[in-house]
Each structure stands twice: as structure tokens, then as C-alpha cells.
Symmetry: C2
């Protein structure tokens, strides 16, 4: 019998308890021992739970219980999750977590503490919910040099964008629907401003390239400025707009990493990932592109990934998994200004001809994009590939000529 | 240092040697030891190879070398791969393989021998080439009851069908192109008749449901009868035709397993998997649908999966992985006649009205499908869901009325 504890009894935590109970036989068969939930930490009371006798409000009950070998941290947030996780790892207990905020902020440190104490720190559920991605990237792609990772990493924003694209809803309406359906929080900032996607691409970048990437060092744009006009121009450019988290390692060893909405060709595998689904593309030098697709959030998908990590820890109680990355600094990151991309621009135009000529004069060979019913006082163009710095200086030239830039969105090469 | 041997120096085998050489540093970092290629078994000579001194024509050089702990079997075919693998496992050496024919025919027996001898038998590369699927299914989805697995498991047939769908090539022309590009063998039977896909779905079914499924017990249809007309009817039914390997576990515990071309809704994630790519959908009770996508064949993708297995064996030299399934019989399989599906039928029709009425009389509510330019002497319909037995008896009634069934293709519910 392996005794485990669960810290947090919210959506994911209650899902973990549920799966450990309903899938008991299957899990037993997998490791040859029973997984026993000994403690559940939550400040709330759950007198009607069949596990009511296991609840505690005191973290020390878990920390000081020598029988507890694996702990699932599913509280979310940095504090007190960080402090608890450190203490548990130092006590030689393995910790698994779904907490992307914690892993993105403190992953390198916690992995180092785990290593020192011959314990495991696993976090399959922190990216892509129920989609297996951390373990396949780490294990199956061990024989590859990963060149690039790009993905739709946030289901809430993908749901909103899909509603805009497929049904012509505007952003506010789609956000409200997402909130009503429980896909978006009442305070949707972490999702719609791209912070959640940023934490996830930081975790994937750290794993792929072996150096911790901190969210503060990553350029992050959300989707709040995307309009229905942009969606329609994108469609006539045979593209869809998706919020993409992306990291690519350059020849100089620096990571070109960012989170931003992008026009993605409809032919891309990522273009067909719709609604609340997530998809992650891993480009290896041997495998080529591999894509993982599924539900990126939700109680049981996420909880099943946490349970898979618990089982992995149970199988490796005496041996360490080799999951590890070193600390990193902003030195490893390409300054955003030097990042290269083509850009879609939507411009105000009293006279279309003049604006198109001016855009060509400034940007070189641009592709003019239009759709039936487009505003005659606007011009949309796709620029050639250039650095963000060049984009910004050329945009300033347009604005000097009293041409307003109404939208400016990267064109992805995925 | 861990000494390994490679049996076979063909496409995949030379790829394994190449990756073990070019990715030496990365692999060292992963396991903390060097992976040393001590022997390569091949009857041919490779005097110009940088590894020329490691070649042997004598299997016993590997079997009797106590230093060799892991062997990659990449010869293909049942004999002598089966005999060699058995002997190696009995000698306590771990074996990894890309040989789907071997795993589909002898998996249960070889896994049992591995277990008895405290060795590992791994075969990530046998399904989906470079796509991680065996390990994610086994490990990450351990907390799920898998309900269904369905996939595009053969790149050659998918390439041919995509050329037919996207470019209007006919089957023979697309097959020839596939052969010219090296995607299809000179003797394409194993691919186009569905045998290769059958071996792969047998492996996935055995893994998902814990009982070995033998290819001989699985209904297998290929794509040689698919016409351009079928492709066009499918398009106007908002579908594409794909060769699907599929297994679903029924409430009575039997597996509904088959390989057949199917009309798949364009909305399905599998519909957008084109050309030589593979895609595999795993439906779990907790995760929902998870899809894995990538190159299903090719030298380096497949070899990178073999190397990942080698590394996994190196990490688990003293411990066994828990990958295992029991033997199985045809008793575990639903007789094909009892399998349920809707069907697309293309019928000869001197008089369309009469044939449509007759089809409705026999099948109940059918959907008539047509496209601009369709042959006026044909009728295409989609039937309701029924057993294959019912389909066959109703088709016989049509034929009794001198209506010829020109095509009969399952409609997938994926």
C-alpha cells in the first residue's frame, strides 16, 4: 500500500480523489499495490464526502506523516503551494502538481530540491490538462533535438476565438458565453491577456531546452483587441486567428519565445483545433512535427493527468525520474524587438489607393487583403518577414502620415 | 557505459545507429552513461560505415555477449526476429523493436517471456513511427478506462486517399506516385489491403484492453475498391474517406475491432490528417478524446522511437517496466456480422426514382447523396445504423431487384 495525500479539494482535487476511488482496481493492477488516500488538506469542511474522515486543515499532518510518500498539490497559486511543496520535497516525499503558476515561477528551484532529496517533482497536468505532453516530450522525444514548440495552450481564449470565427460573435459576447458555460473565470484576465498560455509555454520551453524560462521575460499579448473585422480579413487570407504560445531555439542558442495572437494558415494542424480544445506541436530534428490534441482543462481530464503522475511516483519510490532543468536568465531569451515575423496590419484609409501605395513604399512587397463587405475606409495588408523593431519603426512612419493602425497581428509560420 | 546491439542495418536500423551517434551527448545527459553500439547484425557488408568494425553475421555474438544489455530488433518479419527475440529475452537482455508484424503475432508470448526473465520488451516504434503513442497510452492514460481507439495508422494508404481527395487522382495513379516517392513498396499489398493497419490496431487494442488480439481475428478491408466517384459523393456528404483502424470495447466486454475505409465527417480531428501522416485518437473515460499526430513512418522518425525505447531500457536495467498484456482468443472479439454501422452505398440506377424508393423500402430512412456532375445512372445513399448482417441481407434484397451495389463503405462515427 502506498499512502498519498491531496492538498486542495477544489475542482481538480476532488477529481483526483474521485479517480483514485473509481479507478482503484485499474491503478492497483498498474503498480501491484493499493493507492490509499490518507489525508486531504482543505480549509473548508466536507462532512458529506465519503472521505470525510481523511480531511485536515493542518499541513503538518501531511508533512510529519512518515507513511505519506506521494503528495498531489492541486491548490493552485504560488502561496502557500510553494512553501508546502518545498517542505515536502525536503522531507523526501514526491510531489505532483497541476499548478502551472507554481511550475512556471519556481520549477527550476523545486526540481533541484527534488533532486537533492531523491524525490520526484512531476507536473504532467500543468500543461494541456489531460493531454499527455510533459512525459512524451521528456521521454519519447529524448532521441530528438527539439527545434520548436508551438501550441494553443489556453482553452478559454480558443473557445472565444472559435465562436468569433465560426459564428461571428464579437469578443464581449463570446467571453460572456464562455463565462456562462464555465470555461472562463469571472475575472478572465489571466486567460484573455495571455498569462495562462505564457506560464505553459515557459514550462514547455524549460523542458525542451533545459533552462528555466520565467514568464516575466516573455513577451505576452492577449486577444482582447481582436475584432470581427480581423477574423474576416484572416479568413480571406486563408487563415484563422489563434492565440499561440511559441518557442524556437535559434542558431545562437537564444530562445525566440512569445505568446501572441497569430494568423495561422488553415492548412496548419493547429488551425483545426477549435473551441475549448488545446493542441501542441513539437518539432524535432528526427520526428518532424508531432501534434498532441485534446481537452486542455476540466475536472477529470486534468485530474487524470495528476493521477498518472501519482502512479509514476509510486512506481519510482526508490528511483528518481530524470526530469530536470537548470535555472535560467533573460540572457537565454531573444529580445522581443529582434524577433522576426510577417505582420497583418489593418489601416484606416480615407483613400485606399494612397494608403496601399504608402504601405508598399514603407514595407516593400505587401499583400493586400480584402473580403466582400469590408469597410471601404480600411486597408488590410500582410507585410514581408522583418524584425519587430522594423515593424514598429515602419508603423511609426505610417502614423506620421496620419494613417491609423487599427490592428497589428503576427502572421505565424506554423 | 551500456552496451547495446542492433539487429538489422536497413532503413530503420541505420537510422538507429545514426541517432545513437549524432545524439550521443544528449543521450548521455539523459541517462548519465554512454550508450555504446557493440554489435550490428546484418548479412550484408558495410565496409564504408564508420561502425564497420562492429558488424557481425552471427547472432550468437550478440546472444553470448554478457556485456550487451539492450538489443534493438529492426529486421522486420517474423523469422528469424521471433526466434532471436525469444532467445535474447530468455538470456535476460531487454529487446526493443519497430517490428509491428512480430508484436501483433507474438506480443503476448514475448511480453510473458520478458516478465519471467526480468527483462523489458518495448515497441514504441511499432505503431505510429515517430509519434509517441504506446508509452503515453500505457503511462499517461493509466488513470483512464480507454473506451475506444481509432486511427489513421498507415501513411501509404493515407497518401493515396489524400491525392484522390485533394487532387482528383485515381487510385492507380496515386499508388504509382506513392511508389515513386518511396512511400509505397513495389508490392503494396500489405499497405493497400489494410494488413499493416490491422497489425497496428491489434497492438493498440491489446495494450488498451489487456488481452492479445491476433490479426487473423480482425475484419480487414483495404482501399483498392475506392473510386473517385466515392470520394466525390463523400465530399458532398461533408466527409472524407480514410482507412481507419478502430477498436471499441462494448458493454459485454467484447471488442468491436476492424480495419476498413470509412466516410469520416470533415469535422473530425482525424479528417484533417493528410498525406503520409498518421493520427490516433484515444477516447478515455476521464480525458475524453486525445489525438496524437505525426509522421507514421520514415527512417529518422521511426528510429527516434526505437532509440527512446533503448534509453528507457537503459534507465530500467534493474527494474521492469509494467508494460504487459495477457494472451487472448477470438472469444474476446465481436463477430464482424454483429458490428453496427451506417453505410454509404453507391447503386446502379436505370431509373433513379425507382432505386431511391426501393432503397427506402429496404433500409428505412436513407439520406440521398449527390454532387454536381454525378453519373445520372447511379444513386448514392447513406443508411441508418444497423448490424453488418442486416446490411448484407438488405444488400441481397437490392441485388434481387437487379440493382447493383457499386460501392459499400462504412460511415464512421468519429
Amino acid at each position: 500500500m502506498v499512502s498519498v495525500a491531496i492538498m486542495g479539494h477544489g475542482v481538480v482535487g476532488s477529481g483526483v480523489a474521485e479517480i483514485l476511488t473509481t479507478h482503484k482496481k485499474k491503478l492497483f493492477a498498474s503498480i501491484g499495490e493499493e493507492v490509499y488516500i490518507k489525508h486531504i488538506l482543505d480549509l473548508r469542511e466536507f462532512p458529506d464526502s465519503p472521505l470525510a474522515d481523511r480531511f485536515t486543515k493542518n499541513f503538518d499532518d501531511i508533512l510529519n506523516d512518515v507513511e505519506v510518500e506521494v503528495v498531489a498539490e492541486v491548490m493552485g497559486g504560488i502561496n502557500p503551494a510553494y512553501d508546502y511543496t518545498k517542505k515536502l520535497l525536503k522531507a523526501g516525499k514526491s510531489v505532483v502538481t497541476s499548478n502551472k503558476e507554481l511550475v512556471a515561477a519556481k520549477g527550476a528551484e523545486l526540481l533541484a530540491i527534488a533532486k537533492e532529496n531523491n524525490a520526484n517533482f512531476l507536473f504532467e497536468a500543468s500543461v494541456g490538462g489531460g493531454i499527455p505532453i510533459i512525459r512524451p516530450m521528456h521521454q519519447c522525444l529524448v532521441a530528438n533535438n527539439v527545434k520548436e514548440v508551438a501550441g494553443i495552450l489556453n482553452g478559454t481564449t480558443n473557445f472565444i476565438l472559435t465562436k468569433m470565427i465560426a459564428e461571428g460573435m464579437d469578443f464581449d459576447e463570446a467571453l460572456k458565453l464562455a463565462q456562462d458555460l464555465g470555461f472562463a473565470e469571472r475575472n478572465p484576465e489571466a486567460d484573455v491577456e495571455g498569462h495562462d498560455a505564457c506560464r505553459k509555454i515557459c514550462i514547455l520551453a524549460s523542458l525542451a531546452f533545459g533552462k528555466h524560462v520565467y514568464p516575466d521575460n516573455v513577451h505576452t499579448e492577449g486577444i482582447t483587441k481582436i475584432t470581427l473585422e480581423d477574423v474576416k480579413y484572416a479568413a480571406s487570407f486563408k487563415s484563422v486567428i489563434k492565440l499561440i504560445g511559441k518557442v524556437k531555439v535559434l542558431d545562437n542558442g537564444k530562445m525566440d519565445i512569445l505568446v501572441a495572437p497569430m494568423l495561422i494558415s488553415k492548412k496548419s494542424q493547429l488551425a483545426n483545433i477549435d473551441y475549448e480544445f488545446n493542441g501542441i506541436m513539437v518539432r524535432g530534428d528526427c520526428t518532424g512535427d508531432v501534434v498532441f490534441y485534446g481537452k486542455g482543462a476540466g475536472k477529470l481530464p486534468t485530474a487524470s493527468a495528476v493521477v498518472a503522475d501519482i502512479i509514476d511516483c509510486c512506481k519510482h519510490l526508490k528511483t528518481r525520474k530524470y526530469l530536470y532543468w537548470a535555472d535560467g536568465t533573460s540572457e537565454n531569451i531573444l529580445p522581443y524587438n529582434e524577433s522576426e515575423t510577417a505582420v497583418y496590419l489593418r489601416l484606416s484609409a480615407v483613400d485606399r489607393e494612397t494608403v496601399i501605395n504608402k504601405a508598399k513604399e514603407i514595407f516593400g512587397e505587401v499583400t493586400v487583403i480584402t473580403y466582400e463587405g469590408a469597410n471601404p475606409n480600411e486597408v488590410a495588408v500582410a507585410t514581408p518577414v522583418m524584425t519587430i523593431q522594423d515593424v514598429e519603426s515602419k508603423v511609426a512612419l505610417l502614423e506620421n502620415d496620419n494613417i491609423n493602425v487599427l490592428s497589428k497581428i503576427r502572421i505565424g509560420d506554423l
